[in-house]
């Protein structure tokens, strides 16, 4: 405690240098936290998935459909307690840049399998009673200022033509990580029009979602489902919902890996910056440390002063980094809401960012401390006669 004042005063001996170092650390911690939050955002779908749900898609690719007729067989597989289906719609609202996820679903069974989407009962009944009505997420409604009762027209891309809808309800998520930026329409509305306009596309869906009674049997049940359709015109691939979501992350695997690498690189660079600052500091004070040693200051005292200063600067940088991370994450969340429905700063990320700063502070002090401790008093004072 007696040496805290000296550590404090030493830290601000070169105010500009210290400020720039703290700023550098803060930016690094902010960059690390934002990058890590971005990586978390990629995995948000997987994090929000349920272990009780399986997703069955066409074995060739997600963009190929599977027949609705499979439902009868799949729901009879042992261990399955519920089934629903969804078809990606892919319409454009006013402008192609207004991207959001649109699914044509079976209203009753879909919301039964996804209890994390909360829809007011009255709105849900309206949704059930009107074929061209939709349920949208709270964030999506806020994004386009939609209210219940608003008419919305989408221009079909996968399913060509103008499609008119009415907002019947707005759902909210039970958890913070629940995606509130989706659009759910009636599959029947889509399918009936396909029967008229493009009969071969009628009765085709993108995926079946099943609820299973025991997550431990997920692999067995998945295998049983897929085995039924081996050598058919549309072989299936069934995975847990988490694995299904992770397959999307895998599509952008290089980007995610790159982001992770950059986050580590950022910490490495700032380590060099702080290490350089501490090395300069210790070198400039060589004669002072020698003087202090001549007064009786021991190795632990000198090392303590260097480590204390480095850790203090690192802690300041870490704290400042966390403070500037909060508004930056909010900005990124707003700016990238089209791409990342869930972009949330995890407390663990905050802790990791601050811990990284502290570790950098410790590592940066090691070599300057060793050098200062090992420099003899005589050399330090440069008083060899």
């Amino acid at each position: 405690m007696k040496f805290l004042k000296l550590t404090w005063k030493n830290s601000f001996r070169h105010k500009l240098r210290t400020f720039l170092t703290i700023l550098g650390l803060a930016i690094a911690v902010m960059a690390y936290s934002v990058i890590r939050t971005s990586v978390d955002a990629w995995y948000a779908g997987a994090s929000a998935s349920s272990p009780n749900r399986l997703v069955t898609i066409n074995n060739v690719s997600l963009i190929f459909t599977i027949p609705m007729a499979y439902k009868e067989k799949i729901e009879k597989v042992d261990g399955i307690t519920g089934i629903t289906w969804a078809q990606w719609f892919g319409g454009v609202y006013v402008d192609p840049k207004n991207f959001f996820a649109q699914f044509a679903v079976d209203p009753v069974t879909y919301f039964d399998l996804y209890p994390e989407y909360i829809v007011p009962e009255e709105q849900f009944q309206d949704f059930l009673s009107q074929r061209n009505s939709v349920i949208v997420g709270r964030k999506l409604a806020d994004r386009f200022n939609w209210s219940v009762g608003d008419p919305v027209r989408l221009i079909g891309t996968i399913f060509p033509g103008d499609w008119d809808f009415v907002i019947a309800g707005i759902y909210t998520g039970t958890k913070e990580i629940t995606d509130e930026s989706q659009w759910f329409m009636h599959f029947a509305y889509l399918d009936e029009r396909m029967k008229v306009e493009a009969p071969p596309r009628a009765g085709q869906i993108g995926s079946f979602i099943t609820r299973i009674d025991d997550p431990n049997r997920a692999v067995e049940i998945s295998n049983n489902i897929d085995a039924m359709f081996e050598n058919s015109i549309a072989e299936t691939k069934t995975d847990t919902e988490e694995a299904f979501q992770l397959s999307f992350v895998a599509m952008a695997g290089s980007i995610v890996a790159g982001l992770k690498a950059v986050s580590v690189l950022v910490i490495g660079i700032i380590l060099l910056v702080l290490a350089n600052t501490m090395a300069m500091t210790a070198r400039e004070r060589t004669s002072e440390y020698a003087m202090m040693k001549s007064l009786g200051f021991r190795t632990a005292h000198i090392a303590g002063l260097i480590f204390g200063e480095s850790l203090f600067i690192a802690a300041m940088g870490g704290l400042m980094g966390i403070l500037i991370t909060l508004p930056i994450v909010n900005l990124v969340r707003v700016g990238l809401s089209d791409f990342f429905p869930v972009f949330k700063l995890d407390p663990i990320t905050v802790m990791l960012g601050f811990s990284a700063a502290i570790i950098v502070g410790f590592l940066a002090a090691i070599f300057p401390a060793i050098k200062a401790v090992n420099t003899s008093i005589i050399d330090g004072l440069r008083i060899i006669d």
């Binding site: 007696k2 004042k5 030493n10 040693k293 001549s294 007064l295 009786g296 060899i384 006669d385």
Partner: protein, 228 residues
């Protein structure tokens, strides 16, 4: 007969530059009495600062023994030597070696941080030391707000703050103008006469050496036998 305080016995010191041995001190024998004020003189490279460093315990002799108040300091470990220095030695350097971020008070307090004194006791010690050197009114000033002479007086206050057994001064007036140098020498002389401090001073300056009770001359690593 006066009490023998410091005994330097058959001390030799060499430095190595790669494989080349450079002898600095050769068979030095020196006795210093308690309360003495010794001026070590000699040309540059004569080894006087090296001898001072050996007596101070910040360097070790190649051979020989150095007893201070009966304790042979040469075999002490680095940690024990550091503790011994903090208890027994007061340093005054040519270039003051004050920490620029600390006030005069804090600079003088620095060696006291190694003691078990309370904050109040440290304050008392610091104020006493600064009063002795005549800088009680400059406690809150930083080194860059003081003249060279005042900085050296703060350094002397730092040297006496722990009430050490003896004071070592390496060219204490080497960086000062004539008036300031005289003030510093008066102060050292006062510490010797009024407070009974044993002082060993290295100096080039014959005028500064005149303040000492004893003068010894070193030349090419050997101590001349003639006492002044």
């Amino acid at each position: 007969m006066a009490e023998k305080f410091i005994e330097v016995k058959n001390v030799e010191k060499s430095y190595w530059r790669d494989t080349l041995e450079i002898p600095v001190l050769n068979n030095i024998n020196l006795d210093i009495e308690k309360g003495d004020f010794l001026a070590l003189m000699g040309p540059s490279g004569s080894g006087k600062t090296t001898l001072l460093n050996l007596i101070a315990g910040i360097d070790r002799p190649s051979t020989g023994e150095i007893f201070v108040d009966g304790v042979d300091i040469a075999p002490l470990s680095d940690g024990m030597l550091a503790r011994w220095r903090s208890d027994n030695v007061g340093f005054v350097f040519q270039f003051y070696n004050l920490l620029p971020v600390l006030t005069a008070f804090e600079n003088v307090e620095l060696p006291l941080l190694l003691t078990k004194l309370s904050k109040q006791e440290r304050k008392h010690q610091v104020e006493t030391a600064l009063s002795i050197v005549g800088l009680a009114d400059r406690m809150d000033h930083y080194p860059n707000q003081l003249s060279g002479g005042q900085e050296q007086r703060v350094a002397i206050a730092r040297a006496i703050a722990t009430d050490p057994s003896f004071i070592l001064a390496d060219e204490p007036t080497g960086d000062l103008d004539k008036v300031s140098a005289e003030e510093i020498m008066d102060l050292l002389s006062q510490l010797n006469k009024e407070f009974g401090k044993t002082i060993i001073m290295v100096t080039h300056d014959p005028k500064a050496a005149e303040y000492a009770r004893t003068q010894r001359h070193l030349d090419k690593g050997e101590l001349n036998n003639n006492h002044a």
